[in-house]
């Protein structure tokens, strides 16, 4: 059929399965996000630490390489729980950066241009919409966090033989869970701020200033440290990785995350509508 046929004909073809439509929003949003060259460069830079950690694993497992580079054993990081914790911390900073750069525009652009009624007039729900947008951010964060983390884990396992892998399976799970907590919190907070503030710049500022404000608040009420938000994550990660940590208790950190999650869900439920009703 020619595309420039002037007569209107209703569509009478088959429809896709409903479950499959959930992935349409992230797919389109992904393409829009990667239109920016600045973002592509930033995203590519987030892979550099991964290369560094991969190189460390490689050098530890191949003494010949160390010899060529004139490095002794102490100069190469030992692949252990601590090694993956360093990886977790490094990539968390990168994930925060990606969430800060790519996150705010995902939803605020739709809100700015009143696009929500266009989405919600179609067979998708508010939940599909918000999960679709969050899924994209979670996917981008996964590419620089737990996916390469597990690749490094399996790479070391491959080099050292099957026994190390079997003995440290729990470490693999910890890598995934540690990053999963981070990704869930980042995507949820970005989505909530976007819906609440409805401005890209506002979300960016709040996302930057939020941790500082929380830290100041924690100092005022005497239970906190200067880097309260970082402490929260360290407390949770230390429990997941089963390492000693002197700071906030993991229970308190989990409770705080649970409270943040509930607050975010309540805000999203109350604020995300096709039309804002002024009463």
């Amino acid at each position: 059929m020619t595309v420039n046929n002037a007569a209107y004909q209703p569509y009478r073809g088959p429809l896709t399965a409903r479950w499959s439509r959930f992935f349409i929003l992230p797919r389109y949003a992904l393409r829009e996000t990667f239109k920016s060259k600045v973002f592509i460069n930033f995203f590519a830079a987030c892979f550099l630490p991964i290369l560094f950690f991969a190189a460390m694993i490689y050098m530890q497992n191949f003494p010949g390489i160390r010899k060529i580079l004139s490095l002794n054993t102490e100069q190469v990081m030992l692949v252990s729980t601590q090694f993956f914790l360093y990886f977790l911390m490094t990539q968390s900073v990168a994930a925060y950066g990606i969430a800060l750069v790519a996150g705010p525009g995902l939803i605020t652009a739709d809100l700015d241009n009143n696009a929500l009624p266009l989405y919600l007039a179609r067979p998708i729900s508010r939940l599909d919409y918000i999960l679709g947008k969050m899924l994209l951010l979670a996917f981008m964060l996964s590419l620089i966090t737990w996916i390469p983390g597990l690749m490094l884990f399996f790479m070391h396992g491959y080099f050292t033989g099957g026994t190390w892998l079997l003995e440290h399976l729990r470490l693999g799970l910890a890598i995934f869970l540690g990053f999963a907590v981070l990704i869930i919190m980042l995507t949820l907070i970005v989505a909530t701020l976007s819906i609440w503030l409805r401005s890209k710049a506002g979300v960016g500022v709040a996302f930057l200033a939020g941790p500082l404000i929380l830290s100041a608040f924690s100092l005022m009420v005497t239970f906190g440290h200067i880097s309260f938000v970082v402490d929260l994550f360290f407390a949770v990660w230390s429990q997941i990785f089963r390492v000693e940590y002197v700071g906030l208790s993991p229970r308190f950190a989990w409770l705080t995350f649970a409270l943040i999650t509930v607050t975010c869900v309540v805000i999203i439920r109350r604020k995300l509508h096709a039309f804002e009703v002024v009463t």
């Binding site: 046929n5 209107y8 009478r12 389109y28 696009a115 009624p117 067979p123 096709a274 039309f275 009703v277």
Partner: protein, 309 residues
């Protein structure tokens, strides 16, 4: 014809205010105009039928399906053009339509093909690769219509579609809407405060006032009911001519010494009037069949509502 919209004591409260108050009725026209003064509840009614607002009490059905059950299935069958400026920034027109098509359930390739077709159909074929934010106001209105049409809905909700359009664009928009409803492709619910636009496109009108149904009528039937009303300017002995008309079964009102209005008896036509004038030796200098315009109907309804209150 099966009802398009069925309302059964539908009430909608937003905050503590009642916006729609016990709306009931069954509407089945191909093109239904939704009229009413500002704040009458036109947009709220559309939003409620779309599932954007919850009914406080009562119920409603679209195309035979209750609106609060399987909303997704209903939304596959309807198209919606919002009143306000609405688009997705950073996308070309065709990509925007393609996304909307896929979200409505069209397979990827079909959505893209339909996006191109519909862009040509609405007259934006040449601008389909331009970014939406570069479109003029008129083009944005048209692309909103295009996204509502793309998936071939059985029912189209158009909320103030001619808002902000210049005369040629408005004409084009009305032509498109008329064609879609007349060709039988989709039922159209056309909400507007521009009476002339509604009159040009719609067969039936639903008039709302203060959240209630003030009138629902078939425009064609209204026109037919009034087609025997004739306004005449006469030169000569008016009294004899009036008596002659009354003798022929017409109701006559004499406006002045030269002008009369008459409701003709069924079967009496213009030729008979001229024969009667010849018989009574008067000249008919002007003869005009009158019909109530939608504006007359609207004002009459508003006055009746005010009197009722």
């Amino acid at each position: 014809m099966k009802p398009v919209i069925e309302l059964d004591d539908l009430c909608v409260d937003l905050g503590k205010r009642r916006i729609l108050d016990r709306l009931s009725g069954s509407f089945s026209g191909r093109a239904i105009g939704l009229l009413g003064p500002n704040g009458a509840g036109k947009t709220t009614l559309i939003h409620t039928l779309m599932g954007f607002h919850q009914a406080s009490s009562g119920s409603a059905s679209l195309l035979g399906q209750p609106i609060n059950r399987d909303t997704r299935r209903i939304r596959e069958r309807i198209g919606y053009m919002p009143e306000r400026d609405a688009f997705i920034a950073g996308m070309s027109g065709v990509r925007f339509l393609s996304l909307m098509g896929e979200l409505s359930g069209l397979p990827k390739a079909a959505a893209l093909e339909r996006a191109h077709q519909v862009m040509f159909y609405v007259g934006l074929g040449e601008a389909r690769y331009r970014m939406l934010e570069t479109y003029s106001l008129g083009m944005k209105q048209v692309v909103k219509l295009a996204q509502a049409l793309l998936h071939g809905p059985q029912l189209l909700f158009l909320d103030e579609p001619t808002n902000g359009l210049d005369l040629p664009s408005r004409q084009k928009m009305l032509e498109l809407i008329t064609e879609i409803s007349r060709e039988g492709h989709a039922h159209v619910i056309f909400s507007s405060h521009i009476l002339r636009d509604v009159e040009a496109c719609c067969e039936e009108v639903l008039i709302l006032k203060s959240g209630r149904i003030a009138a629902y009528c078939n425009l064609e039937a209204e026109r037919k009911a009034n087609r025997n009303l004739v306004d005449m300017e006469i030169k000569g002995g008016l009294d004899a001519f009036v008596q002659g008309l009354e003798a022929a079964g017409c109701q006559v009102a004499q406006l002045n010494q030269r002008r009369i209005k008459a409701v003709l008896e069924d079967g009496l036509n213009t030729g008979d009037l001229y024969k009667l004038a010849y018989k009574h030796q008067v000249q008919i200098r002007r003869l005009q069949f009158e019909r109530d315009t939608l504006e007359d109907l609207f004002h009459k309804t508003m006055e009746e509502c005010d009197d009722g209150q």
